[in-house]
Symmetry: D2
Subunit: 323 residues, 4 copies
């Protein structure tokens, strides 16, 4: 067994596309509680009160909902170079961006195996609060706003893939650990949960039942306690947001979850708990998709069964083929 | 800026010495809720219900309380070799162990700059539960015992050092990130919080006011929620355990804490929360020891001021020099 | 408006019938965490660690599951006399018991309008703990056992009635406050939530869709926090208990709920939260059963929709008439 | 044993005096999260989002901080008459108010034995929310504002008395239950916790060490969870509010507490948990003030020891006599 690659340090940001940019902005800022750090062109840049980077969400007006690109930060400039060469060699490279995005330096763009757009960069601008947002605690980027669900930081992104296997394999080669999987009798991979960090997962791929490519299942934001997830459920319901599923606790990842749709149609998770894994070679724990009891347990060890939409709806919306 | 070293993956276990082995065992097993996995010679091996390794605590009968050795796991055999060579080159090497301890393979022993004993290994035995402890969730090593404070896993170790600086510098060279520090006017380092993981810290060094070398401040165990820390406080108090400080929330690390003394005299923390850091180059956040308000805030953003013992008592016990 | 009657002080105990007495006892003692205080004939007497009375549950072996009798305590001997005379006058009296049950004095028995058996008494034996259960806090009846779901006390009983209206009206005359109701267009009463205490309810009646008389919907036990309800859900699921619904938060009562079936078949609720009402003339708040959105909200403001069994299954089991 | 009196239903409101009315208003509205319902003369009327009455706090500009009057609601007009006659007979009557206060009907004024001003009334105006505050749940008076500590409702008032015994005895005659007490060797009563509701207490008297009459120890507001108390501690500290003690859990009452000073100087408690008592004849549980360990336990079963100010500071401020 050789050494694990450590090119990539973390999920840095996700670009979400929305056909209703104004309503989506109200959702992310006023209901989820994200902070706006910049606006440029058709995009608004946001971050949680505990996110140190310039932004962790880029909200871009578009014809259809979905995921624009996913950005990861590398551990060093050398790591950026090496990872770029690796992706180039895989034939997945798009190339160095001529102009970086707000808040980040030299950026390398690539395609994920299922067509999602990715980018890597090292240089990043840390958030610097104006005086009225200076925190009591200097180990925080800013005061907690206590607004809406008051989410603390970005947590993970869950991507649909027409076939999750090539995507999962690519990220293993990039140094991600493969923590859990859902399989049809060890033959067909239905989903994979992966992490470049100690989280239960910061990246997941789920088989898209529509066969479409490049869609989003959901983007998740962290709150510190289960009680805050429950509080968010009530707050968002009172605000008229569609609650799809939860609160409950997944068997896979052990995380406490709540899934809602933001006005643009993207599924958003408010998330807490979940185990941490500190081992480089732990997992994958594989769950049997064909064993109904085990599939149910994998989905929710606490809370009722999921609606069918959880494994079918995504953005951009696609009709399921008639069987 | 070059690449960060990734030899070491995680804190694997801590050996605690106790002059009251039977009473200490009752504390760790029945009150904290650890599971006994083996006994050999004067030692009992224990782990939390969420710890995957053979043991995370080795409790050894001894004349005096204190820390025996601290074990870290490397990411690969190659990493073990490289780290061993590095420590050899530093003049800190003790050498390869002729015989490994229970549950681990080839082991390299070394001295920390202040005299604490360390060891590195890669091969490790994972816990395999008997049938009555098989968990409902296959991503857990065993059933949760629901016994006592029911701590989930080892979290971090906090070591006194006659001078914390050389220890902190060594672990930075070993790839640990330096997250926070407490300094007298940027001149004298009083304490350092470091992590090889995404935790706020998995290793800390505090200046020993007695000037002694190689002592232990505390060993910390994780529970999933603040409510469990509060529950532990009441449970341990009812059981007659000495509560030194807490529950409260530190400013440094943002963690929710409770400090007690186990019967052998070692300080034990029940711990939850605390920020996660996903960046390789975040910190150090430095707090001013001379600014009384800032020092108080660093100690507890929620909860009252600490007793003086928090920064003086340790194991083995040493009398503070009379001033 | 005249003075409210204060004959009855509180729900004192509920007798549950079980066709599987041994398995039911394991459930109540080891999984819910109740304490056994006595055994006599076919009955075991139990109480929560925070219950002061001799028992709050009497578990009696029987051919079928269901509710045996419900006991309420009066505020004084005079109140007992007056309430007995009142019930006698209503034609609901059964008479003074020749022999009281364990832990209680002179007892008056009566029938509720739908056939359930009730009893009133004033004299009650308070629990006196043996030395090993003496609590740290003298305002508690005993040490918290930290066993299973570790429920603290009895909370409320929810009874099916072929017609809830006469039962609700009787208890209003007995001094209970009518807090909430579920009605079909203000014409048909589907359910009533009532309280003789400050709880959102300590007694409820629900229209039995089978038309049967005298059945039990559920008996509820209190835990102090929502987190304990969630913990109970996982603990009970791992122990193989059937989880019917929850955790979630009701709209009606605002309580955090979890419904399971004990081995004898009776539905048991683990319950926390819920508003308190301190006014004598608050309510009733009426919810529209025909408005699907309002009915859903009344059922769960947090958490998914209920299974149909929640409003049909009860004990003893009865088949729903085919429509 | 005769029947317990049920004239009084609940604590209705407390008038607080403040020498800094504008800053106090900011504290109660923006930091505690109370809602303003009216302003008249030198007074602002406020209530928690879960309070149904027109107001539960009347904040009145005054030269010195302290308590203006305490209002209780009776169960019926007849109960109001009877209680008034009783107080008249005791020589404590002040008389029927010529003009009622905002939001309440006919009002009887009286003096408590230590000089505090009390009033009783039955008719009360319930809060009616404007459309933008209409709640999702119709069993709530309004939408939760999610502002500041977001306290839900008034909970209890704790009054200093030069001698607590006559006050405690008066309220027992008025039908309050005496739940707990702190005594010097069964000879000198130091404090009494009483309830007319099922709460651990809604009224308390503490011996004033200064010997002054009619002072306030604190006014308490309820939040639903311990986690919200902890959240309030951090939020209020960040806002610059003086935190005197907590969070912790009292032995007496078992309640989770946080004590702060509002800008006018009055001590305010953010409060959760605490046992409920449903028995009319439970208590008093007496704690020994002279037994230092028991006194400490009574004060805090979870959390460190109190500052001395907790038993000496009050409003209006009085200097302790030099011993």
């Amino acid at each position: 067994m050789g050494k694990r690659r450590h090119w990539i340090e973390r999920l840095a940001h996700v670009e979400l596309l929305t056909p209703k940019p104004e309503e989506s902005l109200v959702f992310f800022r006023d209901l989820l509680g994200l902070e706006v750090t910049a606006q440029k062109g058709d995009s608004v840049y946001l971050r949680g009160w505990g996110d140190w980077f310039h932004h962790t969400v880029k909200l871009t007006a578009a014809k259809e909902a979905g995921v624009g690109h996913i950005g990861w930060r590398t551990e060093s400039p050398e790591d950026l170079e090496e990872a770029a060469r690796f992706l180039e060699g895989k034939g997945l490279g798009v190339g160095w961006a001529e102009e970086g995005d707000l808040g980040q330096g030299q950026t390398y763009r690539f395609r994920l195996p299922d067509g999602h757009q990715g980018e890597l960069f090292f240089e990043v601008e840390r958030y610097s609060p104006p005086s009225e947002k200076k925190p009591l605690l200097k180990n925080r980027p800013q005061k907690r706003p206590y607004r809406g669900a008051d989410v603390r930081r970005i947590d993970h992104v869950n991507l649909y893939a027409s076939d999750p296997t090539p995507s999962r394999e690519l990220f293993q080669e990039l140094g991600f650990k493969w923590h859990e999987g859902l399989w049809v009798k060890n033959q067909v991979e239905m989903a994979a949960w992966m992490a470049v960090s100690n989280l239960s997962h910061d990246l997941a791929f789920m088989r898209d039942p529509t066969g479409a490519k490049g869609r989003l299942n959901h983007l998740a934001f962290w709150v510190d306690t289960e009680a805050e997830v429950i509080r968010a459920a009530e707050l968002l319901r009172e605000a008229g947001v569609f609650i799809e599923y939860g609160p409950g606790r997944h068997g896979i990842s052990e995380a406490f979850f709540l899934y809602v749709y933001e006005p643009g149609g993207n599924r958003i998770e408010v998330y807490s708990g979940g185990y941490l894994n500190f081992d480089s070679d732990w997992g994958p724990i594989l769950w049997d998709f064909d064993d109904l009891a085990e599939r149910a347990l994998a989905t929710a060890v606490v809370g009722g069964p999921p609606p069918e939409s959880m494994f079918a709806y995504g953005t951009p919306p696609v009709m399921l083929p008639q069987s």
